[in-house]
Symmetry: C2
Amino acid sequence: MRNLHDELRYSDGATVRRAVIEGRWQSPTRGLARGFVQTGLVAVPERYAADFLLFCSRNPKPCPVIEVVEKGGISKYAAPGAALWNALPGYRVYQKGHLIYEGPRIDDYWRNDLVCFLLGCSYSFEYLLEEGGLRLKGNREGRGNPIYVTNRECIPAGVFRGPLVVSMRPVAADKVSEAVLLSARLPLAHGAPVHIGCPEELGVDLEKPDFGNRVSIEKNEVPVFWACSITPQEVALRSGLDLMITQSPGHMLVTDLKVMELLT
Amino acid sequence: MRNLHDELRYSDGATVRRAVIEGRWQSPTRGLARGFVQTGLVAVPERYAADFLLFCSRNPKPCPVIEVVEKGGISKYAAPGAALWNALPGYRVYQKGHLIYEGPRIDDYWRNDLVCFLLGCSYSFEYLLEEGGLRLKGNREGRGNPIYVTNRECIPAGVFRGPLVVSMRPVAADKVSEAVLLSARLPLAHGAPVHIGCPEELGVDLEKPDFGNRVSIEKNEVPVFWACSITPQEVALRSGLDLMITQSPGHMLVTDLKVMELLT
């Protein structure tokens, strides 16, 4: 696996997707195809699609829409030709607010009336921050970043409602401006932080992440919180659709878009 | 005085300078001529001018150069026609590293070989932040912001050396990104914060400002530090020039430039 990881790290999006489709890669995609945009997936039955698009429109920081893929599930823009039912290395399937399946194969659940939303993800701004010389500890420690469900509600739309979920990265106090300025250039990857310092104001206990792993904060570092792609999964749990499919956390669609193409 | 303040608040730069020259305004200029750029002043004998320009070039955050006014002391760009020996409401005069005069009249000290540097000042980004809806407590409490001499050294140039001086404003944790993004658009007014959170890393005790007044920090607020125009005054104290003239803190040159003209 290690050799394949190294190979895919400097490959392109299409190469990663081929490894996924052939069953050779079923792990998180962080660090693969460096410089290429990765996205989360939210697939909902067609009758909910307009409401979910409205939810994204009202909550662009947690849910930045990179592509809406109409019925049939074939991407046209971000990863042209990719079939979204097999191009991601891991999925979650929710029915009526329950997680009923997590894994790499969703043939039993896929339906042709699903509308798919490809949503920007933090890996893109992490790439930009790392290229900018910021050392991201979650990545250094190789365990990913802690993720917290906050006390802030997203703005609801139709059946879709739920709390804002954030990821946290400790940033040195003299690098916080740089982290804000770089990530702000990528509104399609959650954009600028939603909150800096004062975790208790978000209802967050840093020692107890809801997902991911605790990470240490040094005395010269500040906790910086970005909106997180796991937000729609919390929404899936609460909205009770008969069917909703998302990526498994960290198991993203690796697209053909370059991060630099998304810069504003 | 109150009526004149209200009158000058919504006037232009030339009107404020006229009040200054006529001796009707000898107080700090914060809040006057809203939307107009205000600058600090550093005047040095000609033989030091190249070194001071180099110092500014190496330390653009504390010393952003808006105009260099050659011998004679008449502004051509920022406040065309303004005589810099009487257009500011308050001056400080340093000789050999000592403050020897502070007040509104410098006729006894002015020399025709002085080269003047007009340096951007925080009032410009404060205007932008306030227009953007951020409530700045130092201004609300009407006492100005606390200013601290830090443990960071500026990059020296010739005789010019000294510590970075910063101003601090408490910002709500969910508004810090906005404060960074707005102030970053004004590199000629100190630009983005140099430090966010972790005051002890700057060698700063928030309770003990070196200048200005202590300000309270609520539990939803983070201390945000910007480079400060008082930096060159600390430099004046340490560099021991035979003559150096600066503005008195807060007693700025009000120019004819609009803040919005400086946006990048």
